[in-house]
């Protein structure tokens, strides 16, 4: 039977078929739907962990206990989880351990374009790279087998166009695998220097064995075509290569670390010219060149940005019959939604002209005009620590016009350690936690502050304000961000406060609550002053009616969700409710 599955759905299916028992993840585009789909299989004990390091360690614990375990994250998540990832490379596994990294070439929804194939090499862990959903499913199963056979975690490396492309996929049945149980083995799992020295030797031997396996691995295969051009490729780049060079001979690599040297040499001997078609860094290219084989690769194919059939084609031929891109098309970057509870906070920041160390989430969109209320964004959790560092460098006075902003999920992910650090080191810090009861950016996953677990069941709610108090913060306030006066007052109190102040702005994500009736603007009262436009609401715009001297602000009733933020800005009370709430 065949079914239409995205790459992420296929990984979930593959994990289920492989008898996986435990799955963990922290959300992150493009990986999020892996766990969202695993949740649908009751046989797998799945959780949203608070961050990727935690997720990987929980999965590692399950592996110690002899259960097959999978952990999924976006590429930058592996930076957070790098510490346990490297050590698990030494310790190896008991139950198969599959680490899924979803890279984001083109940065559709990411802060960098890192190529995580380097991680597999760096941690000496084998890498599998599927080229479509069906392979994503099969390779997930094979990853568990390789993991157990060679006693190593396996990196299943996906990219956006694998995760979020859908194609027809075979479905298999689940094979139950008993949890083998825990057996103490400190030489393997307790990485004291003495043990680790021995383990490093094991790791190097293991890589040689996997390299031998790579030579005979069924999915490392040659598709012979014309011998004038040979292409070596992996992942989604394989699909583009087949599309652009339909007649070439292709060596498709799937177990891409360690690479099959003999197979590559054999291929090279039979083709006149070799092009390595890979997305991102010249990873395969560098290794193949080191084998003494002459290839073309990143000298022609761009290293930055997403690889597409168009990019590949134009790398080798300047002729194109495609029409030119239209010019003067206004850009449409993402925006805070109408009714977004983050909007009020950024409006006040903009009004008070504060310096803002920011963080990653929907609220990063507060950086865009007209709110323009964010100065920095490094990585999850860095808002807190960056602010502390600025205060250290510039002194207490500077901290009177400086705030750190992060979301609730981000706070749980990696804001807490920074907060403890600031309190301990006597920082002066105003930390704003934007608590919208969800992880909004990635599609509304629960976190400890929601009190809900992965499958929606009730868990224990841990409130950010309680954590702040537990960290030793004495000035803690919970504020409604839709009340602009209260928000501004709270800002002033926090900025004046000596020491660490935490403001929790609490209001649910606008996408999670029923819209309220839209507002309207009375054309008689509106004088076109544009004050209401300062909040950057997509439902508000300015029109220039012909018969009118002044411009007129209007509400798009299809977009307005009746949050009432703009009402608080209008000096002429021109914005009114179009109809009563029906409850």
């Amino acid at each position: 039977m065949k079914s239409l599955l995205s790459g992420n759905e296929a990984v979930a299916r593959g994990a289920w078929e492989a008898g996986c028992r435990v799955a963990t993840a922290y959300p992150g585009t493009p990986s999020t739907e892996i766990l969202e789909n695993i949740i649908k299989y009751p046989e797998i004990n799945a959780e949203w962990s608070v961050n990727e390091k935690v997720a990987l360690e929980v999965a590692a614990g399950a592996s110690f206990a002899g259960a097959r375990a999978l952990v999924a994250m976006k590429h930058v998540g592996l930076n957070v989880a790098a510490d346990p990832f490297f050590t698990m490379g030494y310790s190896g596994v008991t139950g198969g351990l599959v680490v899924v990294s979803a890279d984001d070439p083109g940065m559709w929804s990411s802060q960098n374009e890192q190529d995580n194939r380097h991680y597999g090499r760096h941690a000496k862990v084998p890498i599998l790279e599927p080229s479509d959903s069906n392979e994503a499913r099969i390779f997930t199963k094979l990853a568990f087998e390789i993991s157990e056979k060679f006693d190593t975690p396996v990196l299943l490396r996906l990219t956006t166009r694998i995760c979020h492309s859908t194609c027809l996929t075979e479905l298999g049945e689940r094979k139950e695998i008993e949890v083998s149980g825990y057996v103490k083995d400190i030489n393997k799992r307790l990485v004291l220097p003495a043990h680790a020295r021995a383990l490093h030797l094991v790791v190097e031997e293991r890589l040689k064995k996997i390299a031998a396996q790579s030579e005979v691995f069924r999915y490392n295969r040659i598709e012979w075509g014309k011998k004038t051009l040979g292409i070596i490729t992996s992942g989604v780049a394989y699909q583009y290569a087949k599309e652009v060079f339909p007649e070439a001979s292709v060596l498709k690599l799937s177990l891409t670390h360690p690479i099959p040297e003999k197979m590559i040499k054999r291929f090279a001997k039979h083709v006149r010219k070799i092009v390595v078609v890979e997305e991102g860094d010249p990873v395969l290219e560098t290794e193949i060149k080191a084998m003494g084989i002459k290839v073309t690769g990143k000298d022609k194919i761009p290293l930055c940005g997403e690889l597409t059939p168009d990019v590949l084609k134009s790398s080798f031929s300047k002729r194109t019959k495609a029409p030119a891109k239209s010019s003067k098309v206004p850009p449409r970057p993402p925006v805070l939604c109408p009714g977004c509870p983050h909007r009020g906070v950024f409006y006040v920041i903009n009004k008070l002209k504060l310096v803002v160390t920011g963080d990653i989430g929907c609220y990063t969109l507060g950086a865009l005009p007209p709110l323009s209320a964010m100065d920095t964004c490094v990585c999850m959790g860095a808002s807190v620590t960056n602010a502390q560092g600025m205060e250290k460098a510039l002194g207490k006075e500077f901290s009177k016009k400086l705030v750190a902003v992060l979301g609730d999920s981000t706070f749980f992910h990696s804001g807490i350690t920074g907060l403890v650090n600031a309190v301990y080191n006597k920082g002066n810090l105003s930390l704003l936690i934007l608590d919208n009861f969800t992880t909004a950016m990635t599609g509304h996953q629960p976190h400890p502050g929601t009190g809900r677990l992965a499958r929606g069941e009730r868990g224990r709610r841990i409130a950010p304000e309680d954590i702040a108090r537990g960290c030793g913060v004495e000035m803690v306030k919970v504020v409604n961000p839709n009340d602009l006066a209260a928000t501004e007052l709270a800002f002033k109190q926090a900025l004046e406060y000596d020491g660490v102040a935490v403001l929790v702005f609490r209001r649910p994500c606008a996408l999670l609550v029923k819209p309220r009736p839209p507002y309207r603007i009375d054309p008689e009262s509106c004088n076109g002053c544009k004050l209401c436009l300062r909040i950057g609401c997509p439902a508000l715009s300015l029109v220039f009616p012909e018969h009118r001297e002044k411009p007129l602000a209007v509400v798009d009733e299809a977009l307005c969700v009746g949050c009432g933020l703009c009402v608080q800005l209008c000096q002429r009370s021109a914005i009114f409710l179009s109809r009563k709430s029906d409850g």
């Binding site: 559709w108 859908t166 194609c167 027809l168 599309e243 059939p309 029409p323 206004p330 925006v335 929907c362």
Partner: protein, 198 residues
């Protein structure tokens, strides 16, 4: 409107619009429908950041054998657009004889609202220059049906007149992909789309 089905190995359809308009559901329905017809199908879409009111594009390809999930520029048979500027943004994907089906709707992006850019006044003409363009009042029809969320299915109804896929498969695909309580409404919306496509 004439049915203009071209003979070619694969059919390429771009669906584009503004994040939150139901573009992903529309592409799911088309993709499923093509699979019911026995075609090899691939679809590629964008999740995450862009879904917050940004520009969104999905690629759908079906036929005998599809490799790349991405459509090459200048090879899309149809562009189904939920907003005019978005149609223009991706019009360079259109094949020489390709056609654009666009909702007669203008949603000014924030860059326009804050006065940094202008919404092209001659948008209709520019679209027509890129290829044969069908302007559809899908938003008005959805309003008549009492639910703005069905704009996507009205537009699919129009598209269905251009593609050689069975009406029954379309209906089955809608049933499979929308929530049960909205099936009837969506089937109705699909029917209205087919009607106005003539």
């Amino acid at each position: 409107m004439a049915k203009s089905v071209r003979e070619k190995e694969n059919t390429n359809v771009i669906i584009c619009g503004v994040g939150g308009q139901g573009i992903i559901l529309a592409s799911d329905v088309l993709c499923y429908c093509a699979s019911l017809a026995g075609f090899d199908v691939k679809k590629s879409e964008v999740h995450g950041m862009a879904q917050r009111g940004g520009s969104v594009i999905t690629h759908i390809r079906f036929g005998g054998k599809v490799y790349s999930p991405l459509i090459a520029q200048g090879t899309a048979d149809y562009i189904l657009a939920f907003e005019k500027v978005e149609a223009l943004r991706y019009a360079h994907y259109l094949e020489k004889n390709g056609e654009i089906i666009v909702d007669n709707r203008e949603i000014p992006p924030m860059s326009v609202l804050v006065g940094e850019a202008e919404y092209p006044a001659d948008i209709d003409r520019r679209l027509t220059r890129m290829g044969k363009t069908h302007f559809i009042d899908a938003t008005s029809i959805a309003a008549e049906l009492g639910n703005m969320r069905v704009v996507n299915i009205v537009l699919l109804g129009v598209l269905s007149r251009f593609l050689r896929l069975k009406e029954k498969h379309w209906r089955d695909a809608i049933r499979k992909n929308v929530k049960e309580q909205f099936v009837d409404l969506n089937i109705q919306a699909f029917g209205r789309g087919r009607e106005i496509a003539g």
